[in-house]
C-alpha cells in the first residue's frame, strides 16, 4: 500500500535543510525542514520573497546542489546529481548564444546520446509544438525575449521529462509577452499536449501563481520554510477579475506580510538582529517618493499592498522590499497586506530637504545598528576616518560576500544622503569630513 503511494509521487522531499558556510564559522540556514510532494498531473507553485530559499529548493530538486540534510527523492530514487526525467526552464533563458535555435533544442538530446535522425525529429516536433516554426536557424540574439523563452521551453520539453522545473520563467519578460506565454502554456497543458506529467514553478508573482497553479506553497524567509499552502480549484482558463481569484490573491498577500508583524514594535530594537542585518539597496529617492505617495491621496497614510503595487507598477517582491526598508527605518509598518505610515513617516512627508535628511539620519543611527556602529567608530577615532574593510570583515561574519557588498553599498548611499559621514571611493574609507 505504502509502496503504491510512493510510486504515484513524482517527487518526495522530506525534512530537507540547506545551509551555507559563513565567515564566522557558523552556518547560514537558508532552507529549514521542508516537506514537499508532487504527484502526477499537477502544477505546483513555490511562492516567496527573494532569499526565501525557494530557488535553492528548486536547485536541490534539479540535482544542481545537494541538501545539507534530509531526503530528496525523484521517482523513488534519491537525488544525486541531475535526475533523469527532470528538465529545467531558466529565468534568464540560459540559451547558448553560439548555437542556433535548433542546436540549442538538440543539446539535451545530444547529451543523452540519441542518434542524429531521431534527435532532429524530436527537436522539430518540440519547436513546432511551442510555436517556433521558421526560427530553427536563428541565433538567440536575433530573437525577442518571449521567443527566447520559447526556445527554453522547447529545449526542456524535447527530453520528455516527467517533471518540468521552472525558475521564475516569466519574470524577465515584459507584461504582455509574459501573459501570452503563460496562456499558451496553460492551453497546451489543459489540452494534454505537453509531453510532461507535472510542473513545479518558482515565482514571486502572486497573480501568476494563482493564474497557473493547482497548489501554491508560500515560503517564509530567514530561514526559508513552507509557511502555508493554498489550493486553487478554479478551472482553466482563469479570470483575474473573478472575485474568488481576487480574494485568493488578497489572502496570499496578507499571509506573506504576516510574519513581518512581530518585528514591528515601534521603538525596541529588533530582537536578535544586530550589525549583521542584510540591507537591500533601495535608493533614498525611492523611499522619499514612496512616503510622499503614501501620505497623499488616495492613500492618506494607509495602502493596500496589491493596490499600491498595481498603481506603482511594481512586482510584489519589489513592493515588499520597499515596505520593509520603510519598516526598518520606522517610517511605515507592514501588516496583513497593508502598508501604513508611522507618525515619523507622516512628519517626513511634509518636511523640507534638509529637515528630511536630519530625520533620516536620526532614524538611521537609532534603528540600523551598523550605521550607529560606523558613526561611533568615526567619532571615537582621533583621525575620524575608518577603512571600509573594517566593517566589511564584520559583516562577512554574518553574511555571504555578495550580501556584504550590497549592504555596504546601501550603507554608503544612505549615509551620504543623511550626511552622516563621507565615503571616499578611491581609498575606500569612511570619514566625518564632508566637503563644505
Amino acid at each position: 500500500m505504502l509502496d503504491q503511494v510512493n510510486e504515484a509521487n513524482l517527487l518526495d522531499i522530506r525534512g530537507v535543510c540547506r545551509s551555507f558556510p559563513k565567515g564566522s564559522g557558523e552556518d547560514l540556514v537558508v532552507l529549514e525542514k521542508v516537506d514537499l510532494t508532487i504527484r502526477s498531473g499537477e502544477i505546483v507553485g513555490l511562492l516567496g520573497r527573494s532569499g526565501s530559499g525557494k530557488s535553492t529548493l528548486l536547485r536541490i530538486i534539479a540535482g544542481l546542489i545537494a541538501p545539507s540534510s534530509g531526503d530528496a527523492r525523484c521517482r523513488g530514487e534519491t537525488i544525486l546529481g541531475p535526475p533523469n526525467g527532470v528538465a529545467m526552464v531558466f529565468q534568464s533563458f540560459a540559451l547558448f548564444p553560439w548555437l542556433t535555435v535548433l542546436q540549442n533544442v538538440e543539446l539535451g538530446l545530444e547529451a543523452l546520446g540519441i542518434d542524429s535522425a531521431e534527435r532532429r525529429k524530436r527537436a522539430l516536433a518540440a519547436i513546432d509544438l511551442i510555436g517556433l516554426d521558421g526560427f530553427e536557424s536563428a541565433f538567440p540574439k536575433e530573437l525577442s525575449g518571449g521567443m527566447r523563452q520559447r526556445v527554453g521551453f522547447a529545449r526542456a520539453l524535447v527530453v520528455h521529462p516527467d517533471l518540468l522545473l521552472m525558475d521564475e520563467p516569466f519574470s524577465a519578460l515584459d507584461v504582455l509577452t509574459a501573459e501570452t506565454l503563460r496562456t499558451d502554456l496553460i492551453d497546451l497543458w489543459t489540452e494534454g499536449r505537453l509531453p510532461i506529467k507535472s510542473v513545479l514553478m518558482v515565482t514571486h508573482n502572486i497573480e501568476e501563481a494563482v493564474l497557473m497553479c493547482d497548489r501554491i506553497l508560500v515560503f517564509s524567509s530567514n530561514p526559508g520554510r513552507v509557511a502555508a499552502e493554498f489550493k486553487v480549484d478554479l478551472p482553466h482558463p482563469r479570470n483575474r477579475l473573478d472575485p474568488t481569484f481576487r480574494q485568493l490573491v488578497d489572502s496570499i498577500y496578507a499571509r506573506m506580510t504576516q510574519r513581518a508583524e512581530p518585528r514591528a514594535p515601534a521603538t525596541d530594537g529588533i530582537q536578535g538582529i544586530g550589525v549583521g542585518m542584510v540591507l537591500r539597496h533601495v535608493s533614498s529617492n525611492v523611499l522619499s517618493g514612496l512616503i510622499e505617495t503614501l501620505a497623499g491621496p488616495p492613500y492618506h497614510g494607509h495602502a493596500d499592498l496589491p493596490v499600491l503595487a498595481g498603481h506603482l507598477q511594481l512586482e510584489a517582491d519589489e513592493i515588499f522590499h520597499l515596505g520593509e526598508a520603510l519598516q526598518l527605518l520606522r517610517f511605515a509598518q507592514l501588516s496583513e497586506g497593508d502598508l501604513m505610515l508611522t507618525e515619523a513617516g507622516k512628519r517626513f512627508a511634509h518636511l523640507e530637504t534638509d529637515a528630511r535628511k536630519k530625520l533620516f539620519a536620526e532614524h538611521l543611527v537609532s534603528y540600523v545598528p551598523v550605521m550607529g556602529l560606523i558613526r561611533r567608530v568615526l567619532d571615537e577615532r582621533p583621525s575620524h576616518t575608518a577603512p571600509a574593510a573594517r566593517f566589511r570583515n564584520e559583516l562577512e561574519d554574518y553574511m555571504s560576500e555578495d550580501y556584504a557588498d550590497e549592504t555596504l553599498k546601501t550603507i554608503v548611499s544612505w549615509g551620504r544622503y543623511a550626511e552622516l559621514f563621507a565615503y571616499d571611493e578611491q581609498s575606500e574609507t569612511f570619514s566625518l569630513e564632508n566637503p563644505h
Partner: protein
Amino acid sequence: MTLQDILTPRLGQALRPNIWDAVALILVIGAMVLMVYGGEQTTLPLSALDVTPVSLDPANLPVYALRTTMRMLLAIVCSTIFTFIYAAIAAKSRRAEMVLIPLLDILQSVPILGFLTFTVVFFMNLFPGNVLGAELACVFAIFTSQAWNMTFSMYQSMRNVPKDLEEASQSFHLSGWQRFWRLDVPFAMPGLIWNAMMSMSGGWFFVVASEAITVGNTTVTLPGIGSYVALGIEKQNLAAIGYAILTMLLVIIAYDQLLFRPVVAWADKFRFEQTASGAAPTSWMLDLFRRTRALRALTYPFAALNRAFSNLHITLPDRLRLPGKRRTPSRLLDALWFAIIGAGTGYAAWRAYQYLSASLTLPDVLSAVGYGLITLARVVVLIALATLVWVPVGVWIGLRPKLAERIQPLAQFLAAFPANLAFPVFVSLIVHFRLSPNIWLSPLMILGTQWYILFNVIAGASAFPSDLREAAGSFHLKGWRWWIKVILPGIFPYYVTGAITASGGSWNASIVAEVASWGDTHLTATGLGAYIAKATEAGDFPRVVLGIAVMCVLVTLFNRLLWRPLYAFGERRLRLG
C-alpha cells in the same frame, strides 16, 4: 604583456604583490638554473648545422617567408593546446590555481629572448646535431610570446562562465568533456582570439630574432626572413634588408586577410551578448567560404569531426559532477600541498643560490641592478616621449571619424610589423653619422611598440561620446582646460591599455635594441638588455639568469606599482558608459 588579470577589487579589498608572486619568481628562476645545469652536464659536441647556407638572393625570399610562417603557425597550435590544458587545470582545481596563476604572471614578465638562451641549449641537446632542435627552440620562442596571455584570457573566461549556462549544461546531463567543448571553449573564444592577435606582433618579432642567434659556441641559422636579415647586416646590404621588409609586409597582409580576419568574423557568434549590437566584423575570405558550395563542402568534415570529438564519452569522476555538494576542503591535504610547494620553492631557491653564488658576487648583482635602472629610465623616457607625440595626434585623428577609419588599420598594422627588421636601416644611419649609441639606439626599443599607444588613443577618442563633446563646447571649454577636464580623462583607460602593452614590448625589445651591429661595426648602449645580450653571446649562463631575474623583478614591480593602479583607477573612475 597584457594585464588580463585585473579585476576591480570589491569594496574594502586591495590588490598588491603577495607571497605567491615571490614563490612563482623563485620557481621560474630555479627551473632555468636546472635547465642550464642539465644542459652543461651533457655538453655534447654540437656538430655544425647541416643546412644549406642562407643566401641573399631575393628569389629565395618566398621560401624563407614560407618557413617563417610555418614556424608561426606551429607555435600558435602549440599555444592553443597549452592554453586549453593549463587554463582548464587552473580553473578547475583550487590547489593548482594557487601556484599556476602567479607562475603565469611571472612568466609573462620574463623577457622572451631570455627564454631563448636556455631553450636553444636545451633543445639542441635534445636533438644533437639535428636541425630539429633549433627549429623547436625557435618555435618555443614564439610560443612563449603568445601562450601566457592567451592562457590568462582563457582562465578568466572559464572562471566567469555565466552561472545559468553552467546550470543548464549540468541539468541537461552534459558530461565534463562535452561541457568543456560546448560551453567553456566557445565562451572563451572571443577573448582567446583577441589575445592571439595581440601577441602575433610579438610572435613575428621573436621568430625573426630567433632564427639567427648565437648562444656561447652554439650558432643557429635557420632559413627564414630573420636569418636573411642577419646575413644582410653582416654583408652591409641595405637592398637585401629592403627586400626582407617588403616580403614581411606582404606576409603579414596575407596572414591577416587569409587567417585572422576570417577567424575573427567567424568567432563573432561566440560573443556573449543577448542582443545584436554594433557592426559585426566581416571578411571576404569567410564570405567566400560561406557562399561557395564547393568550398563550404570542404568545411563539413571539420564540423562533423568537431561534433564527434566534443561528444566523446569521456566522463569525469563522480565527485566532480556535483559541484554544489559542499566538500569541506581537507586541511590535511592542504597542509601537504603547502609543504610540497614550500619544499619545491626552497629547493629551487637553494639550487639557484648555489649555482649563481659559484660565479657571481654581490657587486655583480649590484651592477646588474644598476644596468636595470638605466634601461628602466630609457623605457620611462621613451614612453613619455611617445605619449607626448602620439596622444595629441591620436586624439586629433580619433575625433575625425573619416580619417580614423583609414588610419586605424594602418596603426594596427604597424604594431604587428616586426620592428627589428627595420633596425639595420637605423643602425646604418647611426654608424654613418657617428652618433652616440647610448642615446640613439634607445628609440629602437619603442620603434615597434609606440603604435599601440597610437591606435588605442584613436580608439578612445573615436568612442568619446559626442554629447559630452557638445556639452564641453556649449560651456566654452577650450585649450588646456578642454584637454585636462574633457578629453584626457575620456581616453585614459584606452591610453593605459596601450601604454602597458608598449612598455612591456619595449622591455622585451631592449635585448635586441641595446646591442646592434652593421657589418663589422658593433654598437652597444649601456643597459640591462645589452648586459643580457652580451652574456648570452658569451654563453655566460649565471649572468643571463641574473639579468633575467633582475628584469623580471623590475617589470613585475613596474606593472604592479604603476600600471595596475592606473588601470584600476581608469576602469573604476573614468570608464564611460
